[in-house]
Amino acid sequence: MVASRQLADGDVCLVGIGLPSLAANLARRLHAPACVLIYESGTIGSKPAVPPLSIGDGELADTADTVVSVPEIFNYWLQAGRVDVGFLGAAQIDRHANLNTTVIGRYDAPEVRLPGAGGAPEIASSARRVVVVLRHSRRTFVEQVDFRTSVPGPGPTVVITDLGVLERSPDRGELELRAVHPGTSVDDVRAATGWELRVAGRVTTTAAPTGPELEALRALRAAMAP
């Protein structure tokens, strides 16, 4: 819900699968009906009734303004700077918002082999604004990521977790806690973070989901159920 609020109306958004797709489609239904959804599979301006399970689902193509090839999506649309907001997930993040989706443990002797880069490195570096969505714990918020898969570019980077909202400050290039969700304390967030967390001078509390927001979310979730 907080992730969906990151999208302004008219924003061009490159969407991955899972939570990002849910957030983007929620935004399209609520406050940003004119936001443009681009999927890595080549669909531009998709308007799915139901967030898809995969980024290549037929409805994404059927409801798109146009469908282009995968090389085109990355070269002409993402790399050229036409994407306002890129949503990303990660298994690990560090204080500079470096993201790991490649491996836990050593690369050549992995404890857990993760899916890998996908579109993330170029989404991170080319989107004007990067929104990272992940769960907050000492396993994910680590002093040093085991592998740097994606490194957000110079634009704003917002990290949204189940505990609160962090932003990378432009001056220090380090994540700073800006808001906590209702019922969460700053200390809760500190305890779940694997480095000494910077905290903004004034930490706000995020707005609880409104009635219409929750209703839209429930409708989407119901439509997605297998």
């Binding site: 290549g56 689902d57 469908v67 995968v70 990355f74 992995p110 082999r113 880069a117 490194v151």
Partner: protein, 267 residues
């Protein structure tokens, strides 16, 4: 001119042990039937290339066809891990699997370079990441006009590219539509190519968003209705999301996986 033949004959003549094989299709039009035929024919030591290994390579890796994987995102979309891929990488079962990994942008541009007859493509990517340190097919070039350091990726030219399409005509011209991914580039980059199709038609009627590959750039075509299942072919079938979800349980355990493969793929 493409030869119209059967899938077993096409695989037997086009795919050899040790080949670099790309079975492409970005979520849509994934050539599962051709993969199963490669498994049945017992091909070994393949290098498998594909942006998204997906369930199709999870099956081929688990069946022991592959010794190396060139890829950019190896998950079960919307579901979770590819357990056979992980087992091969983490525990070497059924055999060790070497990895060459890129980003989607890098893989797509490697095919573009291959299709263009160039040894490399240039992009702005991999910046600040550790990918370059583990992958030898990434390097840098300096722009002679601006001095900017750009990323170069080596071209990718498969020995064989396999794709699934909706239709072919009697001359072996092939048409696909919907999400067409990197298939045009993957076929044009390859030394040989095999296309399975839903249907042979007398005439390819032009359609919105269709890609036509002339028969003279395709080596062989085989008519295999439903050849993309559990992926789909727009206009013919829908994605079997339930199967993708079910694969998580099937593939988690080595014995369950092997039993499923024996029962559903054979070979």
């Amino acid at each position: 001119m493409a030869e119209i033949t059967t899938l077993p004959d096409a695989v037997a003549s086009l795919v050899s042990d040790g080949d670099l094989v790309a079975l492409e299709g970005f979520t849509h039009l994934i050539p599962f039937a051709a993969a199963h035929e490669i498994v049945r024919q017992g091909r070994r030591s393949l290098t498998l290339a594909r942006l998204t290994p997906d369930v199709i390579y999870d099956q081929m890796i688990g069946a022991g066809c592959a010794e190396r994987l060139i890829f950019s995102w190896g998950g079960n979309p919307g579901v979770g891990s590819l357990h056979r891929l992980r087992d091969a990488v983490e525990h070497g079962w059924p055999r060790p699997l070497a990895l060459e990994e890129h980003s989607h942008a890098g893989m797509a541009n490697r095919y573009v370079a291959g299709a263009s007859g160039l040894p490399m493509a240039v992009l702005r990517g991999y910046r600040g990441t550790d990918l370059g340190a583990v992958t030898s097919s990434v390097a840098t070039v300096t722009c002679p006009f601006t001095g900017e350091e750009l990323t170069a990726v080596a071209s990718l030219n498969p020995d064989v590219t396999v794709i699934h399409a909706q239709q072919c005509d009697r001359a072996g011209n092939v048409m696909l539509w919907g999400i067409t991914g990197v298939q045009r580039e993957a076929v044009l980059a390859a030394r040989r190519s095999l296309v399975t199709v839903e249907e042979l038609v007398d005439r390819l009627e032009p359609r919105p968003g269709s890609v036509v590959l002339p028969g003279w750039v395709v080596t062989a075509v085989a008519v295999v209705p439903g050849g993309a299942h559990p992926s789909y072919a727009a206009g013919y079938s829908r994605r079997d999301n339930a199967f993708y979800r079910a694969w998580d349980a099937i593939s988690r355990d080595r014995d369950t996986f092997s039993a499923w493969m024996a029962a559903h793929v054979g070979g």
